[in-house]
Symmetry: C2
Subunit: 400 residues, 2 copies
């Protein structure tokens, strides 16, 4: 019997308890021992509920109980999660977390501490929900140099972009619908501004390069500026628009960014719709690979946390190496990142060609005063310069 504690009994935390119950038998078989939840740390008391007896309000109850071998952190946010997790690792307990904010901010440090204490700090559920991308990078694609990792890693915005693309709806209406369905939070800022995706690509890039990537260094744009007009242009070109979090290895380091992109039908992420997530990886010997699944939601995310518990149970006395040092990884300056750009403008075609060369034009019925075109590959700084020269850019969306 392995005793565990769950810190934070919200959606994910209660989901973990549920998964451990529903698949109790197979999880015990795979872990080699039964898993029992001894404590649940929460501010609430849950009177009358089955978990009532396990509730504690002071994390030190868990720290000081040597019976607890594994601690699940599903509180979210950097503090007090960081303080609690550090204390657990210091006390020689293994930790698994679904908390991307914590992992992005303190991952390298907590990995090092876990190694020092010969325990494990796992975070499969912090990116891609139920998609096993973390363990794949850490234990499967280990013979490769990963040259690109690009993902649809935020289910809320992918649901919204899917509805906008499929039904031609406007951003505000889709947001209301997503909120009504529980896919978007009351304050949707972290999702729609790309902050959530930014933390996730910071984590993935750190794992790919083995060093610390600070999310604050990653240029991030959300989907709030995308309109039904853009969607109509995209449809005319046979493309979809997706919020991508991307990291590419260049000779100057990793080029990482979060922004909406136009995707051609042949792109592996083109058909990833609704709340699904997918992560595309290109390795120097593996070639292209993609991982697809439920990127969020109570049970898929809890499934990933519970799989971490099984993996820890199989490695109670072994620290599994994770390559992610505290040494800071240099990122390519945003201005030097290369992309192609789709531009909508009211400027005359002759002027457009003077500035951007011999581009092809796209026009959409009902938008007579303007046209669209896709540029050649150029760096962000060069695009900016040309865009200023052109004047009157109605919209710019990068092209994958």
């Amino acid at each position: 019997m392995i005793k565990i504690a769950i810190m934070g009994y919200g959606t994910i935390g209660s989901g973990v308890a549920e998964v451990l119950q529903v698949n109790r038998e197979s999880i015990a078989r795979r872990s080699g021992e039964e898993i029992e939840v001894k404590y649940i740390l929460d501010l609430r008391d849950f009177p009358g509920e089955a978990v009532q007896d396990k509730i504690v309000h002071d994390y030190r109850m868990i720290v000081n109980d040597p019976e607890v071998r594994i601690v699940v952190e599903t509180m979210g946010g950097v503090e007090p999660a960081y303080t609690f997790v550090r204390a657990m690792l210091e006390a020689g307990k293994h930790v698994t977390t679904s908390n991307k904010a914590l992992v992005a901010a303190r991952g390298a440090e907590l990995i090092a501490l876990a190694k020092e204490k010969n325990v494990n700090f796992m975070f499969e559920a912090s990116v891609g929900g139920g998609i096993p991308i973390i363990r794949s990078l850490n234990s499967c694609l280990t013979a490769d140099e990963i040259e690109e990792i690009t993902g649809i890693v935020n289910g809320t915005t992918n649901y919204m972009m899917t509805r906008m693309c499929e039904e031609g709806l406007e951003f505000d209406d889709v947001l209301k619908d997503a909120q009504a369905k529980g896919y978007a939070e009351k304050d949707p800022t972290a999702d729609i501004e790309g902050y959530d995706a930014c933390r996730k690509i910071a984590i993935l890039t750190s794992l790919v390069c083995g060093q610390q990537v600070d999310f604050e260094d990653i240029h991030t744009e959300g989907i709030t500026a995308i309109t039904s007009a853009d969607i109509r242009y995209a449809a005319k070109m046979g493309r979809s628009i997706k919020l991508l979090a991307s990291s590419r290895k260049t000779k100057d380091g990793f080029a990482a960014m979060v922004a909406p992109f136009l995707l051609p039908p042949k792109h592996p992420l083109h058909n990833v719709n609704d709340v699904f997530n997918a992560i595309f990886v290109h390795g120097n010997v593996l070639g292209d690979a993609m991982f697809y699944g439920s990127g969020a939601g109570k049970l898929p995310t809890a499934s990933a946390v519970a799989a971490d518990i099984v993996e820890i149970a199989r490695h109670l006395d072994v620290n599994i190496a994770v390559e992610w040092s505290t040494k800071k990884q240099r990122l390519v300056d945003f201005g030097q990142i290369e992309n192609r750009y789709f531009v909508r403008t009211t400027v005359e075609k002759e002027t457009i060609r003077k500035v951007f060369g011999n581009v092809s034009f796209v026009s959409v019925e009902g938008f007579k005063e303007e046209c669209g075109f896709i540029t050649e590959v150029m760096c962000e700084a060069e695009y900016e310069k040309k865009a200023r020269e052109l004047g009157n850019v109605l919209q710019m969306i990068r092209v994958a």
Copy 2:
């Protein structure tokens, strides 16, 4: 420094040596030690080539050298690979293999032997080439009951079906093209008759249920009967045709089969084209997930073998648990497996409806004498009975 041996210096074996060389530094960092190829077992001598000094012809040279910790088996076929691998495990050496025939036939036994000797027997490259599906089942999706696993696991036939679907070509022409491109072997039987896919789904099903699934028990149909006429019907219905290897959990055990299926555009495997492979998984808490990538080819497959080497290097003194016992798993009798069926026939519509109920008909220009329809869900035995009653079935393809 960890010394290894490679048994079989063909496409995959030489690919492994290449990957270990190309990514020498990162593989050493992740393994914790440098990996050095000490022996290469092959019937040939490779005079003048760099590997000449490492060539041995007697596997006992490797068995008897205690310096060799890890042995790579890329010979293919059950014998003599089985004898050699057994001897290596008996001698306390770890083994990784890309050999699906060996794993399907003797996997459970070799896993048990490895456990007994406290070493590891790994086989990531035996299914899905570079796609990390084995480790995902074994170490990632461990909190789930996997209720379905369905894959496009043979690149040769997927390339052929893609060309047939995209260009309306006939089977024989596409086969010649695939052979000319090196995608199909001179004797293509194992691929086009589905035998290769059958071994792979036997391996995947064994891992999912934790018991031995004998490939001989799995109903297997290839793609040889698919014609350009079928493709035209598929196109009319907006569907693709793919060779699927599938296993579904039912109340009576696992229902496994290999056969061509019609896939609707929304199916996660619909857009998996060319030589790519993809494996769809449904878990009871995870929901849907999919893994996509290069299912074959020298470097992608070698990447998976080399990743096994890294994983073994990290677990030199630890046997990683693999749930796959020698106890035989009962499969659902083929006649009891439920599917929907697309049927082409010259029988009159009235008679069709008498036998199959109120189905909708599909007709394709140029095929005036016949029509197509899709049945309701029924078991194979019931379909067989009705098909005999109908008489004159030109073609039957199952519907996913």
